[in-house]
Each structure stands twice: as C-alpha cells, then as structure tokens.
Subunit: 238 residues, 4 copies
C-alpha cells in the first residue's frame, strides 16, 4: 500500500527535530528521529542515511513498518531503521522515536544500571528504563539493530516505558509526538548526567512512583515552552 | 489595589536578567526571575509563561503576593509564581528571586546535602542552604510549588538564608537586588560544581562562618563588575 | 629521492583534518595529523610547526620516513615528526596518523590503564590500546618523541593496534585513510570520557572481542557521514 | 619616582592577555593579569577594576610595588593589586603575574592538595604548587590579598615555584613573560582537571622531577605556537 504524501508540516517538524537534537547534544553525526505518518499508522518518516544536522526537507523518506523505504530512489538508508518500525508496530501510543548515542546515557547501559528520575523534568522515566542486551538475543553482533527480529527484541525490552538503554550502543526514547520525544531525549541525557553526579555524592532520593507520574503529567503541558526556544535557536528551514 | 506602572528601567533589568541567566547556564527553557515592584512592596514583576531566553519587555507582568497577575490579559502564567510571592511576603529584605533547575545544584538536593561555601565568591551561602522536601509537606505531588501553601512552606525552608535546595526539583536563590540575585544564582551553580569535585578529591576545608560573612560583605561591592560583562554579552534589548 | 608533488586533494584533506581535530577538541594549540604520500610510500605530508587550527595549504610540507622535510625552506618543523615517520615505516596498512593531547585520554595514560571499547562507535579499539612508557625506553626525558629511535619504540608499543597511549604526554591514533584516522581520534576521546564515567558507576561490560571486530567493520562504512558534517562545520578552505 | 610611559606594545600585550584568559576559561568576571614595567623594575601594568574581557588600552594603569596607581585619576583599582606588587618585589625573575579563580584548581586548594605535573605541557609545575592558607596568616578574613602584608605572605607561599594555590579563593601563576604566564595559567587549569580525573581512575604516575624540568625547558620554545592561535581567536584590538 502506498500511503498519502506526508503532511508538509510534519516533514518540517522532523527536520527541525533533527537540528534540535544535534544542537542539544543528543546526537552527533549519528542517531536519528522519526515520526509516524499522520495518515497511515503503518508508515513512518525518517531521513536518509546522513548526519542529523544536515537533514533538509527533501531528505525525509517514508518507510513501512518492515523498514522498506517507498521513495528512497537509490539513496542510502539508516542501517537501524528497524528500531523505528518495530516500535511503531508494538506501541500504538508512540508517534515519534529518537535513537541516539546520547553520551551520559552510555555509562548506564555499559554498567547495566537503569536511569531513575532525579527531578521532575524527568518524571517520564518513572517506570525506569528498559535494558536491551543484544548479546543475550543474538550473541556477538556489530551491536546494531539491523533486522526486524532485533527491532522486535528491542521493542520487547522497551516494554511500556519511555526509554530503553542499549548496552554498548546507546538508547532509544519514544513519545506521543515529535515534540514530546525530543523533549524526553534531551532530558534523558540531563537525567543521566545528574544521576551520575548524585551517585558520586551519596544516597540518592529519586522521585517516587507517584511523584514521577504526577510530574510527568504536569510537565507535558510545558513542552511547548522548550520547543519554542529550541526551534528559534536552530533557525528557520532553508 | 492597583500598583503604579512599573519603572521601565526595572522592567528592562528583569528582561536582561532572564537573558543572562540563560547564557550563564542557570536556566534552560525553564526557570524564572522576578523583582519586587519598586513602588509597591506587595507586587512583583515576572515574565509570562515562556522560556527565559525569549522574554521581552512586553512579556513582563505584574503580580500581587498571592500570585494573581493584574495585567495578564489571558496570557499563561508560570505555575510556580507562588515561589516569588510567598518569599517576598516572608522576607522584606528580598527584592529579587531566581528559581531554576541549575544543573550542578540538583545532585545536592537529591542527596539532601547542603551547599557550603568553597570559595570567597560564595560567601553568601555561609549559612548553608535550606532544604525543601515537598514530600514532607504534601506527600506525593508533581513537585511544583503551585499553591500559596507550598510557597509558604518553601519560604520557611529558605529561612533567613540566600538559597534553598528543592529535592527532586531545583533551587531558589534570593537577593536584595536583581543584580545580587543573579550573581548569587550564577555562583551557586559554580559552588555546587566545585564542591562536588572537591568532595571527590578529599576532605574539604570550607570557608568558616567568619570568612564567609566577611567575603560576602566585600564581594557585594564587586557585583557591578560581573553585571557589566554579563549585560554586554547578552546585548542591548530590542 | 624526491617524491612527486603531492596530490592537491590530499593536501587539502590534511588541512581540513587539522581544522576538524581542533573543532572537535582533539587538539588544542598542539598535536598534528599527517597523511602518507599517495604516490610515494616513503614520504608523508605534515604541517610545519604551528597550531593546527591555523594550518593552510601552503603550510603542508613533505617529509621522508626519517623525518627530514624536503621542502621546509627554513620553516620550523614539529619536534615529534618521528612519530609519523616511524609508524609509516612499521605499519604498511597505515595511511594517516594523529598525535594529540586529547584530554580525556591523558588520565588513562597517567594511570597506565588501557582504553577498552565502551560502545560500538569504538570497535576499533577492540584490541585495547598500547602503552608507551618513555621512561622505560630512555629514562628521564622531556617526554617528546624527538628522535627516530623513540619513534621506533613508540611504533613497537602501538603494535598492530589502532591507538597507543603515551604516559605523561598524550596518544597517537592511526588509520587507513585521513578520514578514518580523524574518526578514530575523535571517538578515542569520546570513549575515554565515557569509560571514565562508567568506571565511576560500577562494573563495566565492554564490547567483547567479537562485538568490537564486527562493530568496527560495520562502522567503517559510516565514516563518510561524520566526515561530511565535520567538513561542513569547519567551512571551505580559503 | 615617575616611571617612563609604558611601551605601547607591552600595554597591548596585557590587554590581549586579559582577553585570552577570558576566552580560555581561566578568568570570568574576576581575576587579573599584570606585566612588570619594561623600563622600571619597580612598577607594573594592570587594568583598572573591571572584567578582564572588557579591558581596553586606556584601562591599563601603572602601579608601584606598594600597589599605588600613579595614573588612576579616580578610577577604581583591584582590591588585590598587592598580589602583583609583592611577587614582583620577591621574584626578580618574574615579569608577569596571573591571579584567577581558575575553576578546576579550586578543589585542590580547598582540599589542600598540591598540583603535580600530569603531562609534559605542565612541566612548569614540577616543583609542585605552593599553598597559601590565609587563615594561618591572618585568621578570619574576607579571603582577599588586600594589603601589602598579605601580599608578602602570598609571595612566601609561592616561593620559587610557578604557581601557588590559595585555599578558598583561587590561585596565582607567574612567568618570565606575559606569554609564559598566560600559557602557564591556561595549562594549570588543564592539569588540575586532568589530575582530578586521573585520581578518580587509579594510582597516578606523575612526571618525575627530571622529566618535568626537561619538559618545561623544551615546552618554553613552543609557547609562541599557542600564543599565535590565542591572539588570533580574540581578534585585533579596537
């Protein structure tokens, strides 16, 4: 099935999200952000294989949930597009996915420790983070989620949570909108950095489950404040 | 009672303070700074609900100490305006309040350890920092100081000090002027970062009470030097 | 033997590599990057003695493997050009060498601990890092690899690996192309920073030998994505 | 005695040094750098009381070794000018002094641990760092070296070394030229940061006394390479 042409505003939002994630230090030359197609639940929008900071409108491709691009026209695609497709399949509530090597999160994956919410901005990780240990699933690999089967396993490790750590690799964060997924990706990095520092200082009091849930609900209403600033900082699209 | 129109120079100073706090890394898309109204002790000036970096003159509203905006005209206000009102009510000496999620301060709140003055620039925390544990006051909440009662409790935790840590949330710093509050907010962040590093190195010799008091008194006279630079760096208002 | 005039594109690439390494924080005013001459295996291209950020086309000199510049015309050369010559002599597979004081790597050399691959981006250090202890080779020195004999000893410490730590000094990273050597130098710094943080958090699970080898093979194909961004960021050559 | 008008090139160099130290993160709004008068050993050049980043030619004043400005014409002077005068008096070999609150150095002063040279760039601290404990000299103070007597005590703590830590305050670094003092101030900060990280990793192998002395001698010849870059980065004087 060929989905309708993607909404131009959504395409632009995905481009802006790429630029924001670079400016905020969540992605470097690697990492990617997608949005579920607004008019076809079985498709998603994702850039061709390139550095997020350089993505333009014409670089956004449409993929089906199996990870096939319908309009690549020979352009290279990300090796790990299966992260996106399989999470959209498993999680109807998710409309945007950010995969990154967000730096402060790596040490948590490498030591197999979950993130826990250190302040109200990160109530969305109140259920903790999943851990994807690719070695348990597939033995020695190149660490990449480069097949549908690995994508399925990642989605299982994510479960109903907002974020999953990928040992020896990075992390993946999801949201109900592009703005929410980007917000969560930015503050997952912040939480990791602060949690690491707090562990070095003493016994940490994390948000309780109740606090986290309530903080997450309130903070949802404040996401546009951050988005407005971040969008301004990356400037208008060419 | 309707207070007089705020002094234009004070409005400008609040705008500049917003920009400085963003540039200095004290606030990100969140956090806010207020000034007590120069002609009415029962009112204060605070931006509408928006990212500090984007605040302009026309975004500064006037509030009474209960947190009611008298000139919002439908614009959204900060959920935590009660921080400001209740501190102005409790502390006649305070003329400016900065609330932030200043990053290095978060681990101290999360581990319930006070800041202590590690160098003369931070003599103003010679009395240590208060700790606001919202859980003790109100059980499971969204962590926000979103009512007058919570604002009162925060003001109690602040006491006569310059700064109060808010577990799982951030911190609030006060001053006798906008310049002083901004100076203190910037150097509270610096102190937290250096204190964390020093704790990792060995036994820390903090300023004694006498040293802190004397350093604070002297440093007060040097605040304009920092303000001049910071103001230059954020540039003239549009 | 006088080698042919170097290929202009390779000269430009060495200049760009200098600028990228500065922007990425691998070098400061010190450090250098070379490329093996494309038409003479016994020569290499390296800037005259200057800060990498300021290198222009006309500053690139040609050296033989003994470290003699054939076209210096009185210009000062780097004291440690022997690093490059002796590694090119010992390692026919190497076509580019980066020597730096990359900051996060220094503490590993100073504590004589090897880097180990903490995530797939650094599969190229799967064999660990060599350690060059100049004190064992030459007693008390100024720490510099300022003779051919010291260059030989460094090449021995490097062995067949991608990187060698130099205690009390810095590190040297090699690649099969300028792009690969620059990529490895940038991610050696990233790995060091993250490995340091992970060690502070708990027991670290590094990539296995198999994972590292496979990740390195895959990531090789992605180097152009990083290079495209980095090149864009440093801008066109004058 | 009225000294000759200072050499214009030296005045310019002091201005540039102020700007470099700000850009390199050694000073913020506070801290200062001086040069001994080229034609009168009993005078030195130092800016009026202001943020280093904003210093211009016309802000450079001439002081005698007692800390009296001969050309202030009512302009405010630094409270701690005595640091400079008394070090110039005690150390005929010193021609430039940098006093700062260089951040990574503060934790060493606060825990009363000396810096030790972690890599060859910092051979100049091969003799370690002095420690100035103002409390031992004068009891509870505002921590500032605000009298000639305190300046003398600081110079004693410095001894024949290149740098002295000031507990609860900052540090002071000296050199035989402005370029050397600035180089040393920049790399004192680098050493502190790396030494802190290395201590967290394991047992640190510092440069031996012989290594430090030899490295310092060699590196002296490379200072212009750093200065050329730093000067370029701060741009021409207005």
């Amino acid at each position: 099935m060929i989905p309708p042409v993607p909404d131009a505003a959504l395409v632009d939002k995905v481009v802006v999200a790429n630029h924001i994630l670079y400016r905020q230090g969540v992605v470097d030359s690697f990492g990617h952000v997608s949005a579920r197609h607004a008019k076809s639940r079985d498709h998603f929008l994702l850039a061709r294989n390139m550095a997020p900071a350089l993505v333009r409108r014409q670089d956004i491709l449409t993929f089906d949930l199996d990870g096939n691009a319908i309009d690549a026209h020979g352009r290279r695609v990300y090796l790990e597009r299966f992260i996106h497709g399989e999470i959209y399949r498993a999680r109807p509530d998710v409309h945007s996915v950010v995969h990154s090597h967000s730096p402060s999160v790596i040490p948590f994956g490498a030591t197999r420790q979950p993130l826990q919410p250190i302040f109200h901005m990160c109530g969305f990780i109140g259920e903790g983070t999943g851990l994807f240990e690719i070695r348990d699933v597939a033995g020695d690999t190149d660490m990449l989620v480069s097949t549908n089967a690995l994508g399925v396993a990642l989605a299982v490790a994510l479960g109903t949570r907002s974020a999953v750590l990928m040992r020896g690799h990075g992390s993946t964060v999801v949201g109900a909108s592009v703005e929410q997924a980007v917000y969560r990706a930015v503050y997952t990095e912040v939480n990791a950095k602060l949690q690491m520092q707090a562990i070095g200082l003493g016994k940490v009091v994390y948000l309780s489950a109740g606090e986290a849930a309530k903080a997450a609900a309130t903070n949802e209403t404040q996401v546009p404040r951050a988005w407005e600033l971040w969008q301004r900082e990356v400037g208008p699209l060419e």
